[in-house]
């Protein structure tokens, strides 16, 4: 069971302190999928790869690929947990490979 608040995630009684506030977190197979708050990065330029997979120990397994190279791109919502489908700010719906964090399929919605 996972609970989160601010930058902290609690997994089976243990706490993990992360670098950004958490918008969503859940267990998927043997890993924890974390979506950081899309507003957490306030850099004017560049992207914010804000979807990550962690081991319960806190070790990062991957950071999910973003669908565009456009500045500002990041994910804002987990639409489905299994399969893992997320929406990006730049209007692309992506299915993420939970083994690697790569995009398996994508659809542009404008």
């Amino acid at each position: 069971m996972i609970a989160f608040s601010g930058k902290t995630i609690r997994v089976s009684g243990a706490s993990l302190e992360l670098e950004y506030p958490v918008a969503d977190a859940f267990e998927l197979e043997d890993r924890i999928i974390v979506l950081f708050n899309p507003d957490a990065c306030t850099k004017k330029f560049g992207q914010f790869p804000n979807l990550v997979a962690l081991r319960p120990t806190g070790e990062r397994l991957w950071t999910a690929e973003l669908p565009t190279t456009t500045s500002g791109d990041r994910y804002y919502k987990v639409a489905s947990r299994n399969p893992l489908v997320v929406y990006s700010i730049h209007s692309v719906e992506c299915e993420i490979d939970i083994a690697t964090g790569r995009i398996k399929a994508r659809r542009f919605s404008k």
Binding site: P38, D39, C41, K44, F45, F48, P67, T68, T69, T70, S71, G72, D73, R74, Y76, K77, A79, Y87, I89, H90, S91, V92, E93, I103, A105, R106, R107, F108, S109, K110
Partner: protein, 278 residues
């Protein structure tokens, strides 16, 4: 002596064909610049008839964007007040601007005509060289060169002669493409369906209906413009203005509506609640 004449004829033919080849690649840029002022971006070729899932397409951002401008000296990187990075359409009077828009819309056809002209020239050179008695292989070579010339012409538009990319992932932006920074807070509008409550394509005026929005904004099948929302774009945010290109692969043959693409992130809370669009 006979052999020398034969070689002389062949060299003349090769020179003619090579001349055409150069015209199809190197000289293309010069010709284009005469026809298209550097301050205006060309649309990136024809509508993507096969545009469907992004996964099946290459990324426009991989090479076309931010390509060095051939006439950077003529057109400063930033406009008079630093707000316009590349294009300052206001340098033109309205009539001229309309003409440019027309040229942009016709860009692909002009390109095709140029390709046709090259093909004709190549065929002429074959006829001319036929007198030299070396038509055989030359026909194939010259036609191939003509085809390459046409292909070069197409790739010239596709590979980044534009000052701005015609869209991040698809060629969905046409007309005058202009990047600017929002001077003051302003409300824009966005249409969406389902729970896709955030996106980067906006309009300055609310679309009148769902059907109109789908056609005029060339929306992909995943967006049926079920809802409309207000989006508060804060001062300082960068946007790209363009007109939606038709996308036949999505069954959108019209397009033409003015659209604004957010080129940076704005807070999620700036996207207002959706209300049904009739």
């Amino acid at each position: 002596m006979k052999r020398i004449r034969k070689w002389h004829g062949r060299w003349l033919l090769i020179a003619a064909v090579l001349g055409l080849s150069v015209g199809g690649s190197g000289q293309w840029a010069d010709r284009r610049q005469q026809s298209f002022p550097p301050a205006i971006a060309l649309p990136n070729g024809p509508s993507p008839g096969d545009a469907g899932l992004l996964g099946s397409m290459g990324w426009a951002g991989s090479g076309r964007a931010n390509r060095a401008e051939p006439d950077a000296g003529l057109w400063p990187e930033a406009g008079a007040d630093g707000r316009y990075r590349v294009i300052d359409a206001s340098r033109y009077d309205r009539q001229l601007q309309r003409e440019h828009e027309l040229v942009l819309c016709q860009g692909h056809r002009v390109l095709w005509r140029f390709g046709e002209q090259l093909r004709e020239e190549a065929l002429d050179s074959i006829r001319w060289s036929a007198a030299g008695g070396v038509v055989g292989r030359a026909v194939g070579t010259a036609v191939k060169t003509a085809r390459q010339a046409v292909r070069h012409g197409h790739s010239a538009t596709k590979s980044g002669q534009c000052l701005l990319t015609a869209g991040t992932d698809f060629p969905n932006a046409g007309g005058v493409i202009r990047s600017f920074v929002q001077e003051s807070d302003q409300v824009y509008y966005r249409v969406f369906s389902g729970d896709r409550t955030i996106g980067s394509f906006l309009t300055a005026v609310p679309p009148r209906s769902s059907a109109w929005a789908q056609e005029a904004l060339s929306l992909p099948p995943g967006n049926t413009a079920e809802y409309i929302q207000e989006v508060l774009v804060p001062a300082g945010a960068r946007l790209q203005r363009s007109r939606a290109l038709p996308v036949r692969g999505w069954g959108r043959s019209r397009g033409g509506a003015e659209q604004f693409q957010l080129l940076e992130h704005i807070p999620v809370q700036n996207f207002g609640p959706g209300r049904p669009l009739p």
